[in-house]
Symmetry: C2
Subunit: 396 residues, 2 copies
Amino acid sequence: MAYQSFHPPVRTLMGPGPSDVNPRILEAMSRPTIGHLDPAFVGMMEEMKDLLRYAFQTDNALTMPVSAPGSAGMETCFVNLVEPGDKVVVCQNGVFGGRMKENVERCGGTAVMVEDAWGAAVDADKVDDVLKANPDARLLAFVHAETSTGAISDAKALAALAHRHDCLVIADTVTSLGGSPLKVSEWGLDAVYSGTQKCLSCTPGLSPVTFSDRAVEAVKKRKSKVQSWFMDLNLVLGYWGGEGKRAYHHTAPINALYGLHEALVILHEEGIEHAWQRHQDNHLALRAGLEAMGLSFVVKAASRLPQLNAVSIPAGVDDAAVRARLLQEYNLEIGAGLGPMAGKIWRIGLMGFASNRTNVLLCLGALDAVLGDMGASIERGVAVGAAMQAYTQASA
Amino acid sequence: MAYQSFHPPVRTLMGPGPSDVNPRILEAMSRPTIGHLDPAFVGMMEEMKDLLRYAFQTDNALTMPVSAPGSAGMETCFVNLVEPGDKVVVCQNGVFGGRMKENVERCGGTAVMVEDAWGAAVDADKVDDVLKANPDARLLAFVHAETSTGAISDAKALAALAHRHDCLVIADTVTSLGGSPLKVSEWGLDAVYSGTQKCLSCTPGLSPVTFSDRAVEAVKKRKSKVQSWFMDLNLVLGYWGGEGKRAYHHTAPINALYGLHEALVILHEEGIEHAWQRHQDNHLALRAGLEAMGLSFVVKAASRLPQLNAVSIPAGVDDAAVRARLLQEYNLEIGAGLGPMAGKIWRIGLMGFASNRTNVLLCLGALDAVLGDMGASIERGVAVGAAMQAYTQASA
């Protein structure tokens, strides 16, 4: 059998990530590979740490990308900070809180869950009650921006609560980094992980993390070894840490790091506040269009993520058929629901480079055409106009 | 501060990996990103599994790339197969056997070490003795091609021994895959991991693995949960396994996978036996040149890896200064020694795309010039001629 090179179709990625990648990033990734201990590469690593500090709005010394996807970034936080017997308060209001629980338990810890409805923000009062009832808890873990539902929680308030109860804070910022206000140091988030394929518009495969000095202290004071060799920060820092000699730990994913560096340069050029505002503006336009069409949001307005719009699938409409037609006829990918939301919602991403007017108009136009053709009871022909009006209002 | 795009220097990579990346692979990585559940992507994944089976010479159903570097591939094998209390016989004849021991212990197992000198092959007789003395051992782990020393061990004989003692076999093939004969199914290797940045000439960041049905059975029969959520094959297979519906586990590193697919297509086009032969031919030419110059190999001829040539640094020569000059004056990277070999050896890689005549001649010429200039006692002006003679003999 003869095998051929793989030439992917050109899609517009408006799901929960990966999002459309800026062509500058794709080009950067195709530059010549050099060694992971090459002085030129080491210089780039130092610059990348600075750029990540800017993206996370932190001055944490330990700020670097884990050489694996966001779920490995999550695991890096948990395996380094949770020791057998530790009690961790975990907030769950979607898929990723459940994954945090799995991580705690696989580290030999006990997870005390604070449950909120899928689509709701984490309720700080409930968290306070649970922290009061569990004075021996060492950590509070929550998801800042729940990718499975499109809800944002008040990370600043939750972190303040945790510190009042002498807990360190682990925060999932996979979908918020670069898309929604996130101020790691000002808010006091201690161990934070993210992903590259959401609002940084980079390809998937890396997980930026940042640890406060308090968190680093806790890692250094562990009684037991970190159970993962690959994710043990004491070892990883021999390569990524400090200014001095770099010891080989694993071979860094050179070209993927070229891509992330370029993504961070782009974010820095735009300015992070401008990026946040752009996400908000495009969200409001998409929202105006979707609501004009008669579609409704899953999350209430105050907790809505601009970069991930979860809408209810209209009654009688075939979820998979709509997504398949959008993909086939418009090369447009939107996301399905996860877990209990499967078949009930769509997740429409406006992340990073994909958060732009062209995508808003394409998505509204394509949904209008496909849903209309399939006989869904929507208001036809009004969505794009409503979105344009929202843009006009925003710039007025 | 203004940050600029990073433009790496163009190097020739003749260290222990990453090796020179074929431009076809760099170009493939820059193709448009699509979703990890896109039907077009899923089709590519199936083809990649077939291509990996060809590279590993196996028909193992569970054959896929782990979404992280080789050290995560190693950890994937150990965390899935080692349960707390398990006894594992680990062969150490270089850096990576020591890393295996760390993995066993972090999984709660006990490692019984079989030590051989750095630079020697694993001694099968010693392994046999240790297996006899430890009838309760469940696993034998060894490194097929030791990247830290350039020695190859007899994987077939070691696997046969292990099975005679009812042990499963974990084999590190990071440096052998695509460069030296490796026949996973014929030899009975049960859990095998590799890397992309050696003889596959791809960028670093992924770790191909393959598990025999016996090994999969063992993973399924575990009494305890796999301690890593990210590496738990029971979960990963929901995405990579089977022909049916794919469940989201983590977001696959899409563009890195485009690159690996292209690397495997290239290997298939060349034919794996031809690739093995090419590595051997270029090794013999490099060896003729190095020996003519008066440099000597660390590993005895019978155990030498063609793709990784460890040579002793001549007395009185400054290791770091030579490597720095090769890099600055010739854009040529060769590898330093690791651990106890640091400062004593150089590791000259001829891996994958980098295993070619141009690189052999460049390396010999540059070493001749730099070592000569630094006053090392070498035979000057003969290395390239000796290499060319070896090529002529090989093609005769």
